[in-house]
Symmetry: C2
Subunit: 219 residues, 2 copies
């Protein structure tokens, strides 16, 4: 039983890692589509969503089968329960990349972003992609130090997000309300993407160390 459990749990963890990696890639492409008003790229991200949905269902079924057939206990059980929760996080990460791509599509052929905030979103995109890759690595290696590093990325994301709001709230903002609404929503999508990656890191740290790091209920 134990050998089968280990094998199936490793498979599930790898599937979750793959999904986190795909969500990161989707965010990378969505960011490019946003910066370049590239409709084809946005459509590609939107088209990929079905594949992610299939993987979500597959991961949920794998977790269920593990519980039903292996009846794991203690630490093993905790791993499967965490996997079920992590599916929810990677699912949202994929959905948030999708939202970014949809903003590109909605505004095409115009750029959704005023040029002066492009740099912010290029950087938020870079961090998000990094965090997707980090979450993938953490899921596959269960390295708590790499997991903790996700918090640093998240702080960088929060800083950018705050700066962005300062720009929006400035009387000098000259791009109108419609652009401000897009920038507000887009900023939130990136920030939430980062939060979910952090949440994955927290759950892995808990599995490995038995201590759940303080949560963020700020966002």
């Amino acid at each position: 039983m134990r050998v089968i459990y280990n094998e199936q749990m490793a498979e599930l963890a790898n599937l979750l890692g793959e999904m986190a990696g795909l969500a990161g890639q989707a965010m990378e492409q969505a960011t490019q589509s946003l910066l370049q008003a590239d409709l084809a790229l946005a459509e590609q991200v939107i088209g990929e969503q079905d594949r992610i949905s299939v993987m979500i269902a597959e991961a949920e079924e794998k977790a269920f089968a593990l519980l039903a057939l292996q009846a794991p206990v203690a630490g093993d059980l905790r791993q499967v329960v965490s996997a079920i929760q992590i599916v929810g996080d990677v699912n949202r990460m994929g959905a948030l990349a999708l939202h970014v791509a949809k903003v590109t599509r909605r505004r095409h052929p115009n750029h959704a972003l005023p040029e002066s905030v492009n740099g912010y979103f290029a950087e938020m995109g870079r961090i998000a992609v990094n965090m997707g890759a980090g979450a993938k690595e953490v899921l596959e290696t269960r390295d708590p130090e790499r997991a903790a590093q996700l918090n640093q990325d998240d702080e960088a994301m929060d800083d950018l997000h705050r700066h962005l709001f300062t720009l929006l709230m400035d009387r000098e903002w000259k791009y109108g309300v419609a652009a401000a609404v897009d920038v507000t929503l887009l900023g939130r999508y990136y920030e939430r993407f980062a939060d979910h990656a952090v949440e994955i890191g927290r759950r892995v740290i808990f599995l490995v160390t038995g201590v759940l790091p303080d949560g963020e209920i700020e966002s």
Copy 2:
């Protein structure tokens, strides 16, 4: 075993229901605080958050104990797995009510909302409270018809949300960018609150009928 399982599962379902009800009440108070720029009420919602966090941890532990000690299978196992997922949804509902209260606090003594959109938020608040109560009822009774009704509430919420965006995008919007940013974020908080209630309904329908209704990955 079976009797103990039934008892413990009923306890867990009631706890989840209680949490959904509390999230609905928190959204009610947060909405009132927003409409009346009532700082004391906002602080009350923010202060309640600790109690909800404790309940979240309690629900997760109950679900874990059920799996560890009762090793449920088939439909019973599916119930516990759903409960673990539903904890995530009620957690977010509470967090979104908290966000609304924090906007009230951030703008105090000013009103966060221009008076002309108060009606929209009063109505979105009313629907959200209704959906919190609906989710509670669904968790306690597992009535699939009541669960499906959450979709209708959600459609009403989406309609209001769309109208709100039409207002924001209108050239006649005269309340400036800062108010538009607040209205954009607040609108999203209510809409996401509704999505999580719908998600709870979907999971309960799945438990009772074995068929998972189509998901919303739009939001």
